[in-house]
Amino acid sequence: MTGPNTNRTLPVEATVAEDDIERDARALETVWGERPGFWSWLTTVDHKTLGKRLIVTAFLMFIAGGIEAALMRAQLSRPENSLIGPDRYNQLFTTHGTTMMFLFAVPIMTAMGLYFVPLMIGARSLAFPRLNAFGYWNFVVAVVFLYVSLFVNTGPDVGWFAYVPLSGPQYSPGHRVDVWAQVVTFTEISALCGAVNVIVTAFKMRAPGMTVNRIPIFVWAQLVVAFMIVFAMPAVATGSTLMLATDRAVSMHWFNPSEGGDALLWQHVFWFFGHPEVYIIFLPALGMITPIIETFCRRKVFGYTPIVMANITTAFFAFGLWVHHMFATPIPELGQSLFTAASILIAIPTGIQIFCWLATMWISRPQLTVPILFVLGFLFTFVNGGITGVMLASVAFDKQAHDTFFVVAHLHYVLLGGGVMPLFGAFYFWFPKMTGRKLSETLGKWHFWLFVIGVNVTFFPMHILGLEGMPRRVYTYLADTGWGPLNLVASIGAATIAISVLLFVINVIVTMRRPVNAGANPWNSSGLEWSVASPPPSYNFLYAPLVESRHPLWDISVDLPVLTGFRTDRREVLVTTTFSAQPDSRHEGPTPSIWPLYLALCMGVVFIGSIFSPWFVLGGVGLSVIGLAGWGWTGSKPSGHERVSTPAAMPERA
């Protein structure tokens, strides 16, 4: 139905007439579709466009971080190598860590959520499309700022964790550390915007009938992680944007022991964020594994409820572990023991998830497609990293292994094995949905084998190097330490990883030249995202699907019943109740706008300018006020939000 709709009830329809479908599709495409052109590119608020853009940008950061790693491995391949001096090396490992943690890992997991959560829950868009754009542009400011700074010799050089007093005003002169502090600010704003969007979308915009008990596990993982971001990110922002930046710029004494400050305060504030951060990277990857296993084992996953509860439990526990990064500091040992216990126990919920997946594979007939291969690679690599993590939970052992290459090995096993491998699997799995083409299986298998072998050849020797006395963050080492041979092996492994990633990039480029031929559901999978075209139309769903189970496309043998009656003259989305997903109201979504980009540039002025002068802060805030007004301007239009009542034909809450 078109025109101003005073209907308070939306009709349920089992089938919709072909003519109606065509007419509605054309009208919706007019309202939701993106115009071509540069201005449209700048002002888009489509979550799929922005999601793809964020994935591509974050992946470019993966490559940049990988180049930094390759340079580091080249320098360390021989003792007393003179390829890279200490100053440049310090900038390299700092930028590598900052890029990978802040500019690749969290943004790409967020991007997968921002792209897929609306599609998986049957929504037409995110709850706050303009906020999504604002988050993306802040991320771009962070990327540009860090890399321009690196190329003008102002790249940070104090480690991605920037411990004071080394990163404080006395021992880090100049503006290198200020760059780091503000990069963190922008990525934190970006992550918070994404998190708020995911939470509200997942709670309030699910398709009717998608009760809490039927939410896809991928969406559960993103939701849990969004809450973690909301609680963890403000800690690092307090530390870097507030405390470290003001210590350096205006002589605050947060970390100055001579004036009542405390160097350990930084470590607490940073790691209170830093430990949940790695779970923020890891949990979305776990959320990607379940749909892949379900699809290629042709079976619903064993243990939906345990997996969901394990995700939630892991998120809670993750906030109680941070002191295990500080076991070598003079903190009372009784306190340290608490964190040992928490760090050991967090293995249990993760273990439960792994047992559920193994159980699913055991009782079914898996197909070894590339996504499943990456799941197997995840098990092979991550379980190893998880076990060394439990070892590091021991205070006594950690005091030998802390700040050595043993930890470098552990962290890369869990991040590459537990984060990047499922992510690659997810790329192969969802690439047809995003682009309408399937990636090459052959190239994919080469990519997989080289990547898994490369990761293990690079990082396994580092366990031994660490226990043989090699500390982290060293630009070189003496020949008579005996660390040369294993370092050389690790460097060869790094080259292997580089080749495998190159193969993936080639695969993507070659595939994008093929015609769009994947169809809506090439894998015969069960989620709602597979019920729309590949790639999805700008409005995602023609009508609101009615959900009656956890696996909508598997449990219904005919087409999904849908809720119709939405307006097609404006961007209308359906808002449902939080737990039982009954229709609640219709809401007008925002149109494309330049204000998110403008406001992100204002944030740039405020925070980058704050390094140089407080006047930039004042000026930037003034400019921002204009942006906020422009963003929220509704003029004299009436509010686009009307309640609806539950249609009579709606199935009872299950």
Partner: protein, 316 residues
């Protein structure tokens, strides 16, 4: 050499013991998971094979549920067992030493200041980067930092402890085997974090006492005119502005104390063996060996350098 696998103290031995148990159990768990994973593929179907969905079978599901619960239960048991084992090791390491030798270690960018504490000031030793300890007696370190966070780590002897400005922390161990042990700073501390090593030489008690008696003594005045010339160069060319030598007019505390310099095995915080050529190279241009170090190059002629190094060679 400097390895966790090569313990020389009861503290390091306890941790190595813990490590091997964790390694064994961890490897077994990993192998079990890999076996389950590979066996779960035994009924795999071809990628382009039949596509029909598997229907859940209630009997199979409840059976597998029992297996998953059992696996979880076993995991919890292993983890709690590990927790208990770890706490017991922690209790061992938490015992306080009886009648320890106390050494005060102060971290600088990028060297270690060592002081052997003693109520009797004439019995205090101030040295740098290298220290001797007696075998069989607990040695307690009081750790402070002059600038940024460093970390004291001797893998053969003990786990690490951070040196944090504004804090004073302690760590102790007891060397059971004589030998020379190497450690490195284990907390990133700036440009030359990579070349901030330290050496501990554990000696039987008698030899240690001999060393101590020699170390406490001041250097004697040189008699030879070449040596006097070398000493004068030391005093007037800027060396004495930063370095102290007990028994002479040089008493600055800015840089490492050079008393008994020749008795050290390594120089530049464990970077080079203590030979005549290395000392000359280092004095002429430390920046070429440790770029960023706080010691500047010396504008000495060949003769002056030679005399200076000859003098330093006498500081046994």
């Amino acid at each position: 050499m400097h390895s966790v696998f090569d313990p020389a103290s009861p503290q390091a031995r306890a941790v190595a013991h813990l490590w091997w148990w964790m390694f064994g159990v961890g490897a077994a768990v990993w192998l079990a998971v890999m076996a389950a994973m590979l066996l779960s593929l035994r009924r795999r179907r071809a990628v382009r094979g039949p596509d029909e969905l598997m229907q859940p079978a209630p009997g199979m599901d409840s059976h597998i549920e029992r297996v998953v619960k059992a696996a979880t239960f076993v995991t919890v048991l292993i983890l709690i067992g590990f927790l208990a084992f770890d706490f017991s090791i922690g209790r061992i390491l938490a015992q306080q030493p009886v009648d320890p030798l106390t050494i005060e270690l102060t971290g600088h960018q990028w060297w270690w200041e060592v002081q052997y504490a003693n109520q009797d000031l004439s019995q205090r030793i101030v040295t740098a980067n290298e220290m001797h300890v007696p075998v069989g007696q607990p040695v307690r370190f009081i750790l402070r930092s002059r600038d940024v966070i460093h970390s004291f780590w001797m893998p053969n002897l003990t786990g690490k402890r951070d040196l944090i400005p504004g804090y004073q922390s302690t760590i102790w161990f007891q060397a059971d085997t004589a030998g020379t042990y190497r450690g490195q700073c284990a907390e990133f501390c700036g440009l030359q974090h990579a070349k901030m090593a330290l050496t501990i030489i554990a000696q039987p008690k008698a030899q240690y006492q001999l060393w101590y008696a020699a170390a406490v003594s001041a250097q004697t005045e040189p008699a030879d005119s070449t040596l006097l010339y070398g000493q004068r160069i030391f005093m007037t060319s800027g060396c004495s502005v930063c370095h102290a030598i007990s028994g002479t007019q040089a008493y600055s505390t800015v840089g490492p104390n050079l008393t008994h310099f020749k008795s050290r095995t390594l120089i530049a915080s464990g970077t080079l063996p203590n030979t005549r050529e290395n000392v000359a190279r280092w004095v002429l241009n430390p920046q070429a060996i440790k770029p960023g170090t706080q010691m500047p190059p010396s504008p000495l002629s060949t003769d002056q350098l030679s005399a200076l190094v000859t003098y330093l060679e006498t500081l046994k």
